[in-house]
Symmetry: C2
Subunit: 398 residues, 2 copies
């Protein structure tokens, strides 16, 4: 019998306690041992919770209990979460986490510390919520040089873009609806500005290319400037709009960025709607695989964290620590990547064709036109589009 | 340093030798040890192969070499493959396999033998080729009661159905083209009659519901009766046609079957075309996840087998053996499942609406009509459809 502790008892923490109890037997089989909830670290009152007798307010109780083998950090942020994760590892406990901010910024250091202390450090729930993603990437695809990872990594923005597409809403309207339904937070900045997707892109890139990227260096554009007419024009061009995090291997290092993209309706990612996430992985032997599913939420994220707890226990004598690369990889400029572009401009067909002869402009209700260019890098696009009154320019996933 | 052997040197065996060599370093990191190809078991001449000095013709050489820790069985069939797998396990070697026929029919027995002898028995490549599927199912989703698995599990039939859909070909034409391109075998029976998909469905059901099913008991309908007009009518009804293997938990056991289905174009599976495969897994905590990718082929399948070799080595002291259930589960009748149905009939709109008032019949070029019913089980459908001249009746994925 092995004890574990849950740090933080918000949405994911509560879901985790439920899933660990509901699937007790299955998890024991996967872990090779019974798993018992030892403590829940929470400051706020829990007296009406069925788990109230597990509550502690002082982390040192957990830290000093030698029977606690695994600590699940679901606090979020990089303050207490970072401090407790370090101390847990130093006390010889495995740490599992769904905290993408912490993994993206301090994951490399925590992984090194875990290696040093012979414990596991796992964070399947930090990217793609409940979708099996990081373990397939590092274990099942171990026979592949990973060349590219890209995907829809944030459920809030995907919910908003889907609502804009299906109901013709504009951004502000769709955001308000998402907030009412609890899919967007009161302060939606981290989601709609792409910060959350950027952290997840950094983790995927770290695990794929051998370098540890600082999320602050990854060019990131959110969806606040996407207009209803863009969805309308995209549809007329046989596409939809998705916020993609992308990272690809280059000769000298890698390239990573987060931007809205036009996705052809025939592409699997175009069918990933609402709060669903999806991630494509391109490997040298396998070609391309795509994993889709719920990228967030109480029980989906708990599903990933619970599996990490079971694996940490199963591997007590052979710790699991995904490789987050080494510091200092060359992050090549986003602008040098050549792709087709979607352009929205206040222009007449003749003007457009004068500059982009390959374009087949379509018109939306605002009488702005949208078209798709041939493949070129950003400076080339900007040089040519300067002659037009452009309102939007995003990459098209080719 | 650990030695492994490859049994069989056809498409997958050759691809495996290549991938193991190309990704030597990555695989050593995943395995925690250097991996060295010890032997290739092949009867036919290999004198012009770069691996000719690894060839042996007698399995007992491998069996008796104590340095061989893992045997990759990629022979296929249930003759020599079964015999060598047993003997390898009895000799204390882990066995990895991409042989769905063997796993579906003798997997349970081989897994028990592996448990007894303290070695791993892994078969990630047997379902979904290179798509990470079985390991995510058993490990990453360990915190879930699996309620349903379903998917496009055979690349040949999916290639044929895609060609029929996109190019309006009939079945015979599309099959001939698939054979010319090497996507279908000279004797295509196992693929087009659904036998291959049935074996994979059995493996997925075994791992999901705790019972070990005999593939011979799984109702299986292939795609030979799918006509060009069905694709045309499906399209008019907002759907496409896919051969699905499905298995679902029921109160008393499970239900499993292989049949052509109509899939709404908005469903992720509708975007899975050509030789691609995809599998959806519905779990109690995660909801639904879908994995897509190349379901067969030289390097994709080798990618899965190579990862299994690495994992078998990594887990020498803690063998990995997926749970294939126990014998004797109740397989409930397929016909009792209520779903909407697609019906093609030689009938006039008034006749159709007289029997199925909810139907909105559409007409194809042959002037047969197609329509979708409300949800009902097969006996109910057959009772009502008896009044019409029906040519086809398949389930619609709801």
């Amino acid at each position: 019998m092995v004890k574990y502790a849950i740090l933080g008892f918000g949405t994911v923490g509560g879901g985790l306690a439920e899933v660990m109890q509901d699937q007790r037997e299955r998890l024991a089989a996967a872990a090779g041992d019974e798993l018992e909830l030892g403590y829940i670290l929470r400051r706020r009152d829990m007296s009406d919770s069925p788990w109230r007798d597990k509550q502690v307010r002082d982390f040192s109780v957990i830290e000093n209990d030698p029977d606690v083998a695994v600590v699940a950090e679901v606090i979020g942020g990089v303050g207490a979460a970072y401090d407790y994760s370090r101390r847990a590892i130093l006390a010889g406990k495995s740490v599992v986490s769904s905290n993408k901010e912490l993994v993206a910024t301090h994951g490399l250091e925590l992984a090194a510390l875990a290696r040093e202390h012979g414990v596991s450090y796992l964070f399947e729930g930090s990217v793609g919520g409940g979708i099996p993603l990081l373990r397939p990437l590092s274990r099942c695809l171990a026979a592949n040089r990973i060349d590219e990872v890209y995907g829809i990594l944030n459920g809030t923005t995907n919910y908003i873009l889907t609502a804009m597409d299906e109901q013709g809403q504009d951004f502000a309207e769709a955001l308000k609806k998402a907030q009412e339904l609890g899919y967007a937070e009161a302060d939606p900045t981290a989601d709609v500005e792409g910060v959350d997707a950027c952290r997840k892109t950094a983790i995927l890139a770290d695990m794929s290319f051998g370098y540890n990227l600082d999320p602050a260096n990854i060019p990131t554009t959110g969806i606040t400037s996407v207009a209803a007419v863009d969805l309308e024009l995209a549809r007329a061009l046989g596409c939809t709009v998705k916020l993609l995090g992308r990272a690809m291997r280059t000769e000298g290092g890698c390239r990573a960025f987060v931007q809205p993209h036009l996705i052809p309706l025939t592409h699997t990612l175009a069918s990933v709607n609402g709060v669903m996430n999806a991630c494509a992985i391109r490997g040298s032997a396998v070609g391309e695989v795509i994993m889709c599913g719920p990228g967030a939420g109480r029980h989906p994220t708990a599903s990933a964290v619970a599996a990490d707890i079971a694996d940490a226990v199963r591997h007590r004598n052979d710790p699991m620590i995904p490789d987050l690369g080494r510091p200092g990889g060359v992050l090549e400029p986003e602008e040098r990547l050549a792709t087709p572009w979607y352009v929205r401009a206040d222009a007449q067909p003749d003007q457009v064709r004068g500059v982009f002869p390959e374009a087949r402009p379509v018109y939306g209700t605002t009488m702005e036109c949208g078209f798709i260019t041939e493949s070129m890098d950003r400076p080339a696009l900007e040089a040519r589009a300067a002659a037009l009154d452009c309102r939007a320019a995003w990459r098209v996933l080719a």
